[in-house]
Symmetry: C2
Subunit: 238 residues, 2 copies
DNA sequence: CGTAGTATTGAAACGGATCAATATCTGTGG
DNA sequence: CCACAGATATTGATCCGTTTCAATACTACG
């Protein structure tokens, strides 16, 4: 993903910051800004299962996913694990509070991330209002994504949630890959944790969708969308 | 709420932007920045039930709540109404996509808001990196609040969700008001829509909490916290 | 004081969680 | 390349809590 940009420094993927300017097209950083960020950033490669950082640990940096897929999750007092988000190329992560990370972030596939020390980033943002604006856009984008998620969780039926999850994944596909085959780098338990369901419920919902001829599996870790219209209808029917 | 600042222009309430700078204390705008915003802003008073803007309508401005309480909601295809957030003094709202608002915002109590034209705000932010940083902080704060909400919605039990809702409301109390009496400006249906429950379930959960001696009602629209410890324990037990 | 909207209560049914068992996949070493 | 072991995924049966529908109580406001 974003292969063309791999050697040009960090990129930020974000929808237009429409609260503040609706004429702004899909925002990618300018070469100068990428260079600016790159000079601060360390490029790190993570093996599947490797942790980028852990919940409650001291937070000193923020990250940008360059390639691969990761998950951000929280372990709740009850022992349950809630998956807060899945991270793909262009995603920004490293949210903290009181100087500590709020989630644990772990690589699902081999992933490459830029690690940017917080203090230094602040300094650059203060100087470069344009770049800061990019970050603002990006965060707003995250905000919308989270709103969408809370709508997902409001879904009464498990199959509706799964359908919504699939349409969501589709949006994260790199532009050059076929739109109807979705790789599922995460486990069923991860999906369940993300959707607020039990793994069993996810299994059954997926089975339902297969039975209805809406999707098909090519071996557990890959879904083919057979009837996009119906997936979208299921997803929208909240 | 925020009565002291009413005549000094808009204020923004936001937690520290810890991703980027952990030494930053509770951020209120400087007088200069308030003035800067005020020169762009229109101060509007809304009666209870009045709409600030409607879902899908053309978005040209963003808003800051100055006083009062409002709700932001979306009507879903199914006819259900999902309440996305409740807005209090210091809250920023007006999220849009493709030039249209995503939610409808409606006043619950008599409310005062600052209306700031988007284009002009963009221009000011580009010039004033400091102010832009405030907005970034604020949006990050919203992001955290939304994460919290999605945890709430993961709550299995209705009483747990209600407990979490109460602890959430408590955080929005003005500093000078007693901590253990919470006004509930919103209807049960609004609460239900926010928590992803039916109004009946909210009623029953509230009844449970009353029976357990954890809270008490002073006539429908006001709750007294009798045992904060237990409320918090219920809320945390996800 | 009456009416309309809101809130509560009650009874029934649905859907997901849970527990338990089986099947499938993945990676390892023979 | 195959066999094996551990983890992951699916399937089945039961239980519990929330939804739903219906009826009653409450509250605010004219």
């Amino acid at each position: 993903m974003n292969r063309l940009l791999v050697h040009e420094g960090p990129t930020l993927r974000a929808a237009p910051f429409e609260e503040l300017g609706n004429k702004v097209a899909m925002r990618l950083l300018t070469p100068r800004q990428r260079h600016e960020l790159e000079s601060l950033a360390t490029r790190i490669t993570y093996k599947p299962g490797a942790a980028v950082y852990r919940e409650h640990s001291q937070s000193t940096a923020i990250f940008i996913c360059e390639d691969g897929a990761l998950k951000a999750f929280r372990d709740l007092p009850s022992g349950k694990r809630r998956v807060m988000s899945f991270l793909f190329a262009g995603d920004l992560f490293g949210l903290s509070e009181h100087g500590r990370y709020l989630n644990t972030v772990q690589a699902l596939t081999k992933s490459v991330c830029f690690c940017i020390p917080r203090e230094q980033l602040v300094a650059v943002l203060r100087r470069d209002s344009e770049l800061e604006f990019h970050f603002l856009c990006k965060v707003i984008h995250e905000l919308r994504a989270l709103q969408l998620r809370s709508i997902i969780m409001g879904h009464r039926s498990a199959s509706g949630r799964v359908a919504m999850f699939l349409t969501m994944l589709e949006k994260h596909l790199p532009d050059d890959s076929p739109r109807h085959v979705l790789p599922l780098p995460m486990s069923r338990a991860d999906i369940a944790g993300y959707l607020g369901l039990s793994p069993e419920a996810v299994s059954r919902a997926a089975k339902e969708l297969v039975a209805a001829g809406v999707i098909a599996f090519s071996g557990g870790k890959e879904v083919r969308i057979l009837d996009r219209k119906r997936v979208e209808r299921l997803a929208a029917d909240v």
